[in-house]
């Protein structure tokens, strides 16, 4: 090894053995180095690589950036007025009001309308049907109707489509109020978003608490409960009633989500609560009272027979309960001594559905010539009317607060106004985008915290898809394209949920670390300690080499 003649000589003086010894020391060191290389340099990374949890690279920066991007709903409002200057004045006033809005960015366009068009209209209905009423989803037309007092006592009238009719003397403040509170419902949207982002800090408003959580499809189940078929007979054609009343409404909602309507009959399912008997008094007939705080106890026994073993969709339940004559009439009491308002004997359970109590008519109950089981006819318009009103709330159409001197046209047979549908779109878009964004963020946070989560190609793809759909949705909102934005948000929501709930994420989650070490330590500890210890020898040897070379140079 050492080629320098003088060194060799020096050693040679000691004897033959040292030459051999030096060579052998080198060999031993080479052996130690090769152990080190094979075990630590090659082995360790190989082991690391082969036991690594499989993870597709994910767009973490894009997911984090979603938080910064603001959801802005761009809306076009056309102000059609007879006097273009007045229109411009209104537009600038309204613009000032909406500048402070965080969610809405409203573009006002002013046009002039011909007086003849308005004058020729015989009624508001005629205007509703005319060509001016056709607007793109999300857009709104504020139409000045000079003779509005001819049709209505109100100053502002909101139509069934996307038109707001206002009288000439309407102030911009009033119009702002109508737009804010009824058409845009910005506060509801804001509360929904903030309650999703920080659920501990803010609460949903009433409308938000009632609204069903977002899903791609819902089941609607109508159940008729006859607790005593020996006493009451119901020959009702439920299927036809559903077809007549509920289906047209649900067809309107088809673009938002799928609704599957089911129905069933239940017998011998009693109320689990005992209604209180109110004896006959002057002016009050004998009846049974069911106080409002007992109502949740009615739902629990029903639940057993309402579940589905196949469907994974959230279910809206509507229950008709027909008490037997011996327990009727049965009324729901709001509080001590006050019968539920409006004479509607029904109640709504938020995010669950509604129950209506359908009392058999008194004359049939009192008539002793009618033998039991007594036939009871269905008052479908009342039952289904109540269900429709409840369904509107559950679907997410809120009850609006009254604004003085502002009214709206009554509902058509379809049960939905177009602008209500638009605001439903906005709610769902915001809900789905926020939910997708939060899901993605919590997923990326989880991935950072728990190293055992597997992300396979399929999940990776759906995460990618969700991220780009959120971005696309935000972009489409900026363009004011409500329908396309809804599609994007739905896609984002579904992909994000699919990725988050994919069972493959958990494949290795329950493989605990201590088991890993229990297997590795018997092998690694005895093998690694001598290898690591030999590092010192290698170091000493290398240091002596360097010193040696230095010496050589000095020489």
């Amino acid at each position: 090894m050492s080629s320098h003649p003088s060194t060799t000589e020096e050693i040679k003086t000691v004897g033959d053995l040292p030459v051999e010894k030096i060579d052998k020391t080198d060999y031993r060191i080479y052996a130690a180095i090769s152990y080190f290389v094979i075990l630590i340099v090659i082995g360790l990374p190989l082991w690391w690589k082969t036991t690594e949890v499989y993870r597709v690279p994910l767009p973490y920066t894009r997911i984090a950036a979603l938080n910064e991007s603001d959801f802005v709903l761009v809306t076009n409002v056309t102000i059609a007025s007879l006097d273009i200057d007045r229109g411009k004045q209104l537009a600038s006033d309204l613009d000032n009001f909406f500048k402070t809005s965080k969610l809405f960015k409203v573009h006002f366009v002013v046009t002039q309308v011909q007086k003849q068009i308005l004058a020729s209209a015989q009624s508001i209905q005629a205007l509703e049907l005319s060509s001016v009423s056709r607007r793109q989803a999300g857009d709104i037309l504020l139409l000045e109707v000079p003779g509005l007092p001819r049709f209505t006592p109100s100053q502002v009238l909101v139509g069934r489509r996307r038109i707001v009719y206002f009288a000439t003397d309407t102030s911009s403040v009033k119009l702002t109020e109508v737009l804010q509170q009824w058409l845009f419902q910005e506060e509801t949207l804001q509360r929904m978003i903030s309650s999703m982002v920080s659920p501990t800090k803010s609460e949903l408003d009433l409308a938000g608490r009632r609204r069903m959580p977002t899903a791609s499809a819902y089941d609607v189940m109508v159940t008729i409960v006859n607790p005593d078929p020996e006493k009451v007979q119901l020959n009702w054609d439920l299927q036809e009633a559903i077809e007549n009343f509920l289906s047209p409404f649900l067809r309107n909602l088809a673009p938002l989500a799928d609704y599957n309507v089911k129905s069933q009959w239940l017998y011998f399912v009693p109320l689990q609560v005992q209604p209180k008997l109110v004896p006959e008094q002057p002016g009050i007939r004998k009846h049974f009272a069911l106080s409002e705080e007992l109502l949740p106890h009615i739902i629990t026994p029903l639940e057993k027979k309402l579940a589905s073993h196949v469907s994974q969709n959230p279910c809206l339940n509507f229950v008709v309960y027909v008490p037997p004559c011996s327990e009727s009439p049965l009324y729901i009491y709001r509080q001590e001594g006050v019968i539920l308002r409006g004479g509607v004997n029904a109640f709504l359970s938020p995010r669950w559905g509604g129950i209506i109590i359908h009392n058999p008519p008194q004359d049939i109950c009192d008539n002793t010539t009618v033998v039991e089981p007594k036939p009871v006819e269905a008052d479908w318009s009342k039952i289904m009317g109540t269900f429709l009103a409840q369904l509107r709330l559950l679907v997410g159409v809120p009850e609006l607060d009254d604004i003085p001197r502002v009214s709206m046209l009554p509902l058509a047979a379809s049960g939905m106004r177009q602008w209500e549908l638009d605001s439903l779109y906005r709610v769902r878009i915001m809900e789905q985008l926020t939910s997708a964004m939060l899901t993605l963020q919590s997923l990326s946070q989880l991935l950072g915290e728990i190293s055992n989560i597997v992300i396979d190609d399929e999940v990776g793809d759906s995460i990618q898809e969700a991220v780009s759909a959120v971005e696309r949705g935000i972009e489409l909102l900026h363009q004011g394209n409500l329908l396309a934005a809804f599609e994007a948000s739905k896609q984002a929501f579904l992909s994000a949920e699919a990725a988050f709930t994919d069972p493959s994420l958990l494949a290795l989650l329950y493989f605990p670390d201590d088991q890993k070490y229990a297997v590795y330590i018997p092998l690694f500890l005895p093998v690694m300690i001598p290898v690591l210890m030999s590092l010192k020898n290698i170091y000493l040897w290398a240091a002596s080499k360097v010193r040696h070379k230095g010496k050589e140079k000095v020489d």
Partner: protein, 583 residues
């Protein structure tokens, strides 16, 4: 006699049938609801001294065809309808059974069931990806009935060619057995948690009618109990242009009065079910209790209290039986109805006359290498019988077709037809169907050999030393005589329709015992032990190897080896200077 295939087809493919008109006019039924519900209970003292109680609840529904088929339910249970509708089910048969029906002593039951859970389904002809939908169906049913049916999948399901034909109507007679699936879970334990959801499917629940007699405490102390759920399409009318859905819910119970502690043979509703009957289910079109009193003429007679509303004599396949009928809807209920049977003399046990056909099965062989299954089929008829034998062997018991031997009375007989689907490890069970003609008054032995195999350590169930179950074999036959036969005719859903229902032959399916087998079971801590041992050996080998190659033993006085011991010494004796080192 030459066997012709057409003959077999005629015998086995009883596909479209002549529908007898319903025996009760639908007087009280309303027009809007297109369904009817019947409840029946058959009580029969068996020759062995047991009492057989068979409940049957039948719902027939003129369901609208199409995708919305099961969307709007009235008497038909919605939960079950949704499961059937979603999974494209044409026919569905589930039974959950505890105990073994002893054909030799008890005769034939109204509806057969294998021990444990048994499920067979015909899917509609337009079903795509049957295996996948079958898996989903078993999952949904498992949730519905609280049974472990979710363990049924392709690896333990068969598609028998001959043994399971549709029992209801089919659109065309070209049947493709790729749409049928059959599976059993012989290890399934049936208990209250299955009975409760099963009762929930009844329109009256267990509040009224015969279902109120089904109390868990008095059902699970029986020798045999079996819950059944059968959906099939039936003809709506005699022309059979439209199809109705029929759901038959059955409970079979066999009580041993002696071990129940009553000291005598007398039985009554209260003794059997713990309480009397409070009335019919008001939703039922008919409610009948039948008591089989045929044995009064041959065996020990008994008297019934109260008197029945009617007595029916049924002649079926040449054999006469007598039933006392209680029409529950016509009876007035001032107090609970309790039907009491009292024997005037103590019961005399006569020599058992076994039924025409029965079977038994056992395992032969010793050690843990090779084994065999023997099935003995007894034919007591004076003529030969044609049978189909279906063997359902799990994939971990590879059977060898060449070892199949059929011996009757010392003479080997050749099967008419063999259909063998070899199993595949972890993906398909072994399925063997043998069509046989068994000689008159003989015992036929079917013998086949199998191997024991090792499983992967994760495939062993908890308590692996308990053993592995092999499901029952099924013997299907077309009996020419109606002796002991209680099955329902194909067209009629009710027990009533089986009275005087003489046919050319009677379709019988027997289930044999399920078997239990001990596979070689490893010590389950072995993998970890092996890892530890192997690691220790490697570490032990590595240490010296590393030392030899990287270190050198050297003399103590050598200065090149400044060992740990020396350094310790030098530290201990710091005062002393290390010796001068020779260089």
């Amino acid at each position: 006699m030459v066997y012709s295939k057409n003959d077999w087809n005629k015998l086995l493919k009883m596909v479209c049938f002549i529908l007898v008109p319903f025996w009760i006019l639908n007087v009280g039924q309303c027009l809007v609801q297109k369904d009817r519900f019947d409840e029946e209970l058959l009580l029969k003292p068996l020759p062995s001294g047991h009492v057989y109680a068979y409940f049957q609840f039948t719902t027939v529904w003129d369901a609208p065809s199409g995708p919305q088929m099961f969307q709007h339910c009235h008497l038909f249970p919605r939960a079950l309808g949704e499961v059937a509708g979603r999974h494209n089910v044409q026919e569905l048969h589930v039974t959950l059974t505890e105990g073994l029906w002893r054909y030799e002593y008890w005769g034939f039951p109204v509806s057969d069931a294998a021990p444990g859970a048994e499920l067979w389904t015909w899917f509609r002809n337009d079903t795509k990806d049957v295996d996948n939908i079958w898996k989903k169906l078993t999952g949904a049913l498992s949730g519905l009935l609280c049974a472990s049916l979710n363990f049924i999948g392709t690896p333990n399901s068969l598609s028998p060619e001959y043994s399971f034909r549709p029992t209801g109507v089919v659109k065309n007679s070209n049947l493709n057995s790729s749409f049928v699936r059959y599976a059993t879970l012989p290890r399934e334990i049936v208990c209250t948690e299955n009975l409760t959801p099963w009762k929930k499917l009844l329109p009256c629940d267990s509040k009224k009618g015969f279902a109120s007699l089904l109390n868990a405490g008095h059902i699970h102390n029986t020798n045999y109990h079996s819950l059944g759920l059968h959906i099939r399409p039936v003809c709506k009318d005699a022309k059979c242009t439209e199809v109705s859905i029929e759901l038959r819910q059955t409970v079979s119970l066999v009580y041993d009065m002696m071990i129940l502690g009553f000291q005598n043979q007398d039985w009554s509703l209260r003794k059997l079910f713990g309480l009397g009957l409070s009335g019919p289910c008001p939703l039922a079109t008919s409610s009948f209790i039948y008591v089989d009193v045929t044995s009064n003429e041959t065996g020990t007679p008994y008297q019934l209290q109260p008197e029945p509303t009617e007595v029916i004599t049924s002649i079926r396949g040449g054999y006469e039986s007598k039933f006392k009928v209680y029409n529950i809807q016509k009876m007035s209920f001032t107090h609970m109805l309790n039907i009491v049977a009292t024997y005037s003399t103590p019961k005399v046990y006569a020599v058992n006359v076994p039924p025409v056909l029965y079977a038994s099965r056992y395992i032969v062989g010793y050690g843990q290498e090779r084994g065999g299954i023997v099935t003995k089929i007894h034919n007591n008829h004076w003529k030969h019988l044609d049978i189909i034998y279906l063997e359902n062997i799990p994939w971990f018991l590879p059977i060898y077709l060449h070892t199949l031997r059929v011996v009757a009375g010392g003479k080997e007989i050749t099967p008419i037809l063999k259909k063998y689907v070899p199993g595949k490890e972890r993906s398909r069970p072994y399925s063997l169907e043998v069509l046989l003609r068994i000689p008159a008054r003989s015992v036929t032995e079917i013998y086949i050999e199998f191997d024991y195999v090792f499983l992967k350590w994760q495939e062993y169930p908890p308590d692996a030393n308990h053993g592995f179950y092999i499901g029952s074999a099924i013997i299907s036959a077309y009996l020419p005589v109606g002796k002991n036969y209680m099955g329902l005719p194909q067209a009629g859903p009710t027990i009533y329709s089986s009275f005087n229902a003489s046919r050319e032959g009677f379709l019988l399916q027997l289930r044999t015992e399920s078997l239990i087998i001990t596979l070689p079971t490893p010590d389950f801590s072995m993998p970890y032990n092996v890892i530890c041992l192997a690691c220790t050996v490697v570490a032990l080998a590595f240490g010296p190897l590393h030392n030899i190659t990287t270190k050198r033993l050297c003399m103590k006085d050598g200065n090149s080896c400044n060992g740990l011991l020396i350094r310790l010494k030098s530290m201990l004796f710091k005062g002393r200077k290390p010796q001068a080192q020779a260089h």
